[in-house]
Every structure is written in C-alpha cells, then in structure tokens.
Symmetry: C2
Subunit: 540 residues, 2 copies
C-alpha cells in the first residue's frame, strides 16, 4: 500500500512519453474503436457499438414502407453514433489520457455509398426525404442494381473500354456506378439532388475533419478509377442519356493517397469523440485492405486472405498485369507506390454457417460449438476418406470464374456419408478455391511468396491445416484479433507523422506469426490428386 502512489506516478510518467492513435472499423452491423500505442502497436482498449438500425433490408424505418428484394440500406446517424459512443468507451477502457492521442484512422465496408449535398449532408437527413429509400446509404450488400451492373459490363465489352480488364471483366452490382445508375433510373429526383456520390469510407472522414477527401482505394476498386480517369461521358451517355455527367458532377475530386492526412479533427468531432481538436484524421480506407499493414503483408508477393463469411485476398505487386478473374488492380490501392491486387471467394464462412444451420442433425448439436465439434471429427479423417468432392459456389464464384450465378456441388454421397464428411468436403472446397486463385496469381506473373491469414476463420486450426496442406505452403497468421481497427490505427500513426510511411509503421505496429501452419507432405500430395479431380470436373 505504501508504494502505490509512487507506482502510479511512475506509470503516469512513462505514459506521458507515449503517443497513441485510435483505429475505427465500421463493419456491417457495428463499429469498433481501438486505442493503440504508436511505438509498438500494443492494443490498450477497445469498444464496440451496434448500429441502432443495423441493416435496413425489410422496411424503411421512417415510413414502414417495405423494401424490394435485395435492398440493403443503412442510416448515417448510426455511423456518427459510433464516434460518440465507441471512441470514448475505448479510450476509457484503455486508461490512456485522451490528450496523448495524436491521430484517428478509419476503415469501412465497401462499396457502401451515399448521396449527399455539397456540404456532406446525407440526402436522407434533408427535410422531406426521410421516406425516400434512394436517399439512404446503400450498403455493400445491396444487390438490387444487378440489371444496371450487367448493362455496365456488357457495354464496356461492346465498346472495348480499357478499364474492364482491370476488374476481371465484370463490374459488380455492389459498386458505385451500378448503384448510382439504379438511383438515376428509379428515383431521378433524388439523383438530381445528389451533389456528391460518396463512399461511406470517405464520408466518415468528412464527418471527422470537415473537408471532402476521396481515397485511392475505393476510387480504384469500387469507382472504376484507372490510369488517372473514370469511365468517359461518351460511355456513360450510352448507358443512359442522363448519366453522361455523373463523374464530373458527383464524383470528381482529387484523390488522396492511403496513409495521408485528410485533415484535422474538427471541434464538433472532438466533442463527439473526446479527442483533441486538430489531431490527424487519416484518409479513408477499406476493411480488407487496411488489414494488410496490420498483418505485415504489404511487400510484393505477400498475399493476405481475410477469411470470414467470404474471403477477400489482397496483395501488392510491383508490376501491372491482368490476373484472370481478379476483382481489381489499383495503383496505390493498398499502399502508395505499388499495384494493389484484389481477388475474392464469394462464400466461405457463409457456406459453413449455411451448412450448420440447414444440414446438421440434432446429434451434433448437443452443447459446445458445432463448428468446433464438426472440425474435430473431420480432423481425425485421413485425406480423401470421405470420398466426396465439393465445389464452393453456393454464393457464386468471384475469382477466378467471375460468375455469380454458379452454385454449389456435392459429388460422392453415399448412405454412409456423415455430417463431418460433408463439412470436411466443404472446407476442402474453399481451400481448393483459394489454391485456384493463388495459382492464377503465380501464372500471371505476380507470384505469391507468403500466404498470410486474418479474419474470423483463423481460429479454426483444422481448417487452417487443411489450407496449408492444400496450398502446400506454410500459413502465417495475423497476431491480432482486431486486424482492420489495428490497420486503421497504423494509418492514423502515418497520417500523424509518427512514421514516414505505411511500411515503416507496419514494421513497428503490425503483428504476424510466421508459418504457424506448415503442410504435411503426405496430405499435400493426396490433395494434389483431389485438386486435379476438382479442376477436371469444372474444366478450369
């Protein structure tokens, strides 16, 4: 007891030398704040705030009006609430003196995009527009612009637009142009009142620092910005006469490099967050891409797989090539100065979740985690024992086939097939899907040198070992549970000038365990045969 005052004072003295940053990760259902020490990336406190309206996909809260199928909106006030609630909570939990916070960084789901006025006010917050569904942010998983996306893709091929090859030959219904064209065609009045069509990733930064910025990441991957330009007015006019000036009127803005300083924290945002006025606000970013520095996966050839409900693969390359079926390649899309490649598997954890919810009998559900139970049982089997081959196309296939209408396949069922057999086959199917993507990068001239994993699925050791065996490579794992928020904090540190660039900050603050899972040689060669069988069945 006698020493306590001394100790406290000593801690305070040390803490006073430290500097801190806040990383903010805006997900689908909630936002997370994380307080991180600039010196070494130590994670000191975190808080999560659920969005009050969650995903708006059934009825519009303001009117009760039912929404059509495939719609998914959000309420921008829910994002601000994360600033007001999660940030102070995380700072309090960390015990850090807020005056020692030198920067704030953010990442967002993408493409989540909204219409605003010239000053950044969301149209849905203007008088009289709360009842107009098109006035709200469209969440990444709003899929009601498929018709528009198909026309955008088709016309690009017809006209031989040079940018279409940078996106594996297809523009997604989730992206900026498809959602904007849907807006124009379905609610021209709201379209006309839209002064800015802006990614939520950039809008939240605008809320923090008071000035509009646009980041290169979303502009490139979601906004079809390539080689210094967007799709031409001619092309846009051919899509729809009223769409010709879309880029010029509603998108155009100088783009900011990732890791850059968007501005200083405004009085209003300082009041919301409890952080000092004027601290650095980092340029906006996307959840998957921002995780790369957190996982120390930003050198050319370090592929980061963010494995959750779906898997997003991001990797830097020092050359520009067209990888078949990639989602996009963007100059400076992950860090300035390198080409950022992105690929994806449209269903991974979602498939396991679907399987557990719809296909697992009660005997397997007696207490405990069912994924864990199935993984344990499946993990005891020798490779190939179940006799099944599956294809993981339950939610389509993004890379490398780029066909969202594909569906899942299960071959080899017998009266002896048990749930753990099918579960293992599904895990293997997703691993084969990943191997196909890695092989495509290798063949295209941007070889994968290290395979690094982040995301919720890293916890499943059985699954990770299957991946190591199927890929025939060691698997490195991010050593943080908060990859995106940590990545955003790293960006904040760079924006605040604590490090000269993202690479230096990642080296000091990122966290990776190298080669946690190594391939078992016997399994690997057995999987060679199964993988060949799989490719044979799908003719790829």
């Amino acid at each position: 007891m006698i020493n306590q005052p001394v100790e406290t004072s000593s801690v305070s003295a040390n803490a006073a030398c430290e500097r801190y940053v806040v990383g903010l990760d805006f997900g689908t259902l909630s936002g997370r704040a994380l307080v991180v020490r600039v010196a070494d990336g130590a994670e000191l406190g975190t808080a999560v705030h659920e969005y009050g309206h969650g995903v708006i996909d059934r009825t519009l809260p303001a009117t009760g009006q039912p929404l059509p199928a495939d719609w998914a909106l959000q309420d921008p006030e829910d994002y601000r609430e994360v600033l007001r609630v999660a940030v102070p909570e995380a700072v309090a939990a960390s015990g850090v003196d807020p005056r020692l916070v030198i920067g704030i960084g953010t990442d967002f789901t993408a493409c989540t995009v909204l219409p605003t006025t010239r000053d950044g006010s969301p149209l849905c917050e203007l008088a009289g527009l709360a009842g107009r569904p098109h006035a709200y942010p469209k969440l990444w998983r709003h899929h009601a612009a498929q018709v528009q996306a198909d026309r955008i893709t088709e016309l690009a091929h017809e006209r031989g637009e040079p940018w279409i090859g940078r996106y594996g030959g297809r523009i997604s219904s989730e992206w900026e142009f498809a959602k904007a064209l849907q807006l124009l065609e379905e609610d021209p009045e709201i379209y006309a009142r839209t002064e800015r069509w802006i990614e939520a990733a950039d809008w939240i930064v605008w809320q923090l620092c008071g000035v509009e910025t646009r980041n290169r990441c979303t502009a490139g991957y979601k906004g079809v910005y390539q080689d210094g330009q967007r799709p031409s007015p001619d092309y846009l006019r051919a899509l729809h006469p009223g769409f010709a000036d879309f880029v010029q009127d509603k998108l155009e803005h100088p783009l900011s490099q990732l890791g850059g300083r968007a501005g200083g924290l405004t009085q209003r945002a300082a009041r919301w967050t409890g952080l000092p006025v004027g601290i650095a606000v980092a340029v906006g970013n996307v959840d998957a891409h921002v995780t790369a520095p957190a996982a120390k996966a930003i050198d050319p050839g370090q592929l980061l797989a963010v494995m959750g409900t779906s898997t997003c693969h991001v990797m830097n390359g020092d050359v520009l090539v067209e990888v078949p079926g990639m989602c996009g390649v963007v100059d400076g899309g992950i860090v300035p100065g390198l080409w950022g490649y992105e690929a994806g598997q449209s269903g991974v954890g979602d498939i396991f979740g679907w399987y557990v919810e719809n296909c697992v009998p009660p005997a397997y559900l007696d207490g405990g985690d069912v994924h864990e139970h199935l993984s344990t049982l499946a993990g005891r089997q020798p490779v190939g024992q179940h006799g099944l081959v599956a294809l993981d196309w339950h939610n389509g296939n993004r890379s490398v086939l780029v066909d969202h209408e594909l569906s899942g396949v299960l071959v080899g069922l017998t009266l002896g097939t048990r749930p753990e057999d099918v579960y293992r086959a599904l895990v293997e199917a997703t691993a084969f899907g990943t191997r196909t993507i890695v092989a495509a990068f290798d063949a295209a001239g941007v070889p994968v040198q290290e395979f690094v994993v982040a995301g919720g699925l890293v916890k499943n050791q059985f699954l990770m070992q299957v991946y190591a065996d199927v890929l025939q490579r060691p698997i490195s794992v991010i050593a943080s549970d908060q990859g995106p928020a940590l990545g955003s904090a790293i960006h904040a540190a760079v924006a605040a000038g604590a490090y000269p660039d993202i690479t230096a900050a990642a080296t000091a603050m990122g966290k990776k365990d190298v080669a946690v899972f190594v391939p078992n040689t016997a399994h690997a060669s057995a999987y060679d045969a199964l993988y060949a069988e799989c490719r044979h069945r799908v003719n790829i």
Copy 2:
C-alpha cells in the same frame, strides 16, 4: 337381442360355404401371416412375428465370434417360429375356422440362401457346426461375396457366356453363385458337407410340405437358370476347380411353376400352424414378384414398382428382349407363360432415410413425422424453384447403369437452399431414375402400359404426385397394405385349385386403385426440361 342366435347361426352357415387361404411373407426382420378369403381376397386377420435373432451381422450368437464387414446371416429356427406363432395368431385374429383354410402360400426375401443336408436340415443345426458362420443362411443383404461376384461376371464376359446378357451384364454378390463360391473358398469343409444349396424361399416350403421343390422365380433371377440350364461345369471349373460340379451336386432339381402345388401340409407343419393336414402348399416365391398378382399387375406391360428402402420393378412381357441394365429376365419368373422382367433402383427410401438422419436440422424435427413435414413443405414449391438437380446414386445404380460404385450428386446448392429443397430434389432424383428405367423398357420393345405402385412409399402422396408428373403417366396403387402376403395367399388359392391360374385368382382377389395420381400437365413439361438436364449431366 332376440335375433342374435339366428344371426350367429346365419353367419356360421355363410362362413361354412367360404374357403380361406393363408399368405406368409418372410421379410428381413420378421414374418407376417395373413388370412384371406378365397372368393374376393378380403383380408380377415394378420399377425407379425419378429425374428428372435433378427439380422446376424455383428457377432455369431452361438460363440460371440465377430463377423467380418458386409456379412449378414439369419437363423432358420426364426423362420419356423413364424409358422408356429404368426399363423395361429392370424387365424385367431381373423375369426376363421382353421378347418376352412384350404392352402398356404409363402414368399421370401431373395436371394437368401442356405446350405442343408439331403433331407433339408440346415447345416448350422448339425452337431458341432453352430460355431461356423458359413453354415448359416446368408441373407439377401450379405455383401461379403463381392470379390467372387466380380470374378463370376468377368469370366462370363471373357468366355462370352450367353446368360450374362439376361442379367444386365452383371451377376450380383447377393446371388446364389457368388455366395456359394465364397463358401467354397472360405470354408471348404462346410462346402463339402453342403448337400443342397437352397433358397430360403424353397426351404420354407420344404419345411411345410416335407419335399424339396425349387421355384422358377428364384432359379431364374438368383440362380442363373436360363433356357433350361445353369452355368456349365467348364465355366464353373474355370472359376475354381472345386466348383465344377456345384450345379449338379447341390442345385439341380426339377423346377416348379409359380402357383403350382409343392405338396400337402405335413403332420408336423400342421401341428406348428394349427392348419389342416394335407392342405395345398404353394411353390415358393419372392416378395416383390408375388406382389404383382396382389396388385393386379401381371398382364404384359403392367409394371409394378415395389417402393421401399429400394425399388424393385417387375413386369411381364410376351417377348424376350434384353433391356439395358435390367436385373434379370426369366421365363415364367412372375407367372407361367410370360417373360418376367426385373429392374431395380438400389436406393430410394434408404436415401430419404439417410437424409433425414444425417442432414436435417432440429427445427424440422419438432414432433410429427419428419418425412411428412418435409413432404408438405416441398409439395408447396413450384417445379424447379429449388434450382437443384440430384442423382440418386447414394447406394450405386442398379438399372440402367449397373454400377454399384457410383455415388450421389447434388448440384445447384446456394446459401438459400433449405432442407425441404434438398428433400424434394432427392425425391425427384429417384423419380428421374424410375423414368430412365421406364424409358429403357419402352425403347427395348417391352413398353410400359400401366405403372402400378406397391410398398411403403405409396403412403407419401407428395412423392407419388412427383412420380406421376415426372413419368407423365397416371399411377395406379395397390389397394392393400399387405401386398406380398396377399400375393402369397393368391398363390395358395391357385395351388389349392380354387382358381385355374394366377391371372384368374388375381382378378378375383387382387386389389388395385387405377390412376390414383394423374400427371399435372404444366409440371410434366417442366420436368421434361429437368430430366433432360439430368440425363445430360450423366451422359445417358
């Protein structure tokens, strides 16, 4: 009350004019006795007796010795117990005076076959042989003679044996020759002591009438009897030198026509059953085939599908052709004077059972019958809504591909796929399998004129309607819950001379509701497209 004595006396007087027969159906787990009125087939009383030893497939009861995989034996005393218990119980339940019973008929699972002495004693009942697994009856589903079956098939093709074409090109491991060759190779001493290798269908008749008979049905379908002969000694010697005289030593015996009188009930069997000494005992028969007269499906072109765990299709034809993938065609195999065709689907109810046990989540299991629940949900869907295509090869494919190593396939899975979707797809898959068989008969020159169904699955109205829609034909249904036992009773009536032949007896005693399910034209044409897709996928 005053009239009661008169009424009783009047009933007695009428009853005294009636004659009755007993049908006995020996299944896999139990035997059933059914008392039937000769005049009109009225079913008056029934009783079931479970076999004390059931299926012996883990350890031999006499010694506790474990049995190898794929073995399945039975104890012949269990069959006799059915005579002693089920017959008197059924007669008592019927209220019929046993003195008015004029005949008894039987049917059995096949090929269930056993080694006996010259007087019909099962070897397993001889002193010192109770511990020898090969001394017991081998149940139809004993599958441990696959190696032998493969050699039998291969050698038949090598030598161009004429009979192989009558069996769709393959001799099953379940049949008489494969099981006997296994016996010879694995326990030559028991083989040497085997004086008669006899179908249980004929052995039970021997127990009833005291004389050995052999029926044309099992001899043809299971014992490779074609055109008046069995496989030659030369062929058998080439299989194994010790097998050359197998037919001559252990099988050969004049064959009896179905519906014939095997003999009169012995004193001993009369004591067991409580039936009169000397009444007609009908020639033995097989469960599926004996059901044809019960379902009034014995004219050429009336195909009977006995739908249970698997489906057996039997149909008479007035010409001999080779139908691709049939299980067998036998002269007089169903009724004398016609060619009896048999085909099969190796998994039907078994697939639905496997699905329910291994793939259905708890939400679907809240009380009530799960098959009924899934059928109700599935029945609400328009054709093709689930987007799935399945192949019902979970237990191999008997007809028309004749490949027991095939396995099940499921294509079209999405994250929205629900259990009722898969259930419906599996039902449809079995219906497509049936359509393939019907098409093969049509194309081969023995066209299917009427599709009649018996067996446990007739109760599923949803399934029956899918079959009608897929087959694009009306479906008739047997109007008895006891098809095989009723068929055996019909045979007993013929053997007793109450009718001139099976056709006449079937007309009077058989029961069929015609065209209970009729195809919905819109569904039928939608299924045309799905069926084409299915055939495309399997290249048939």
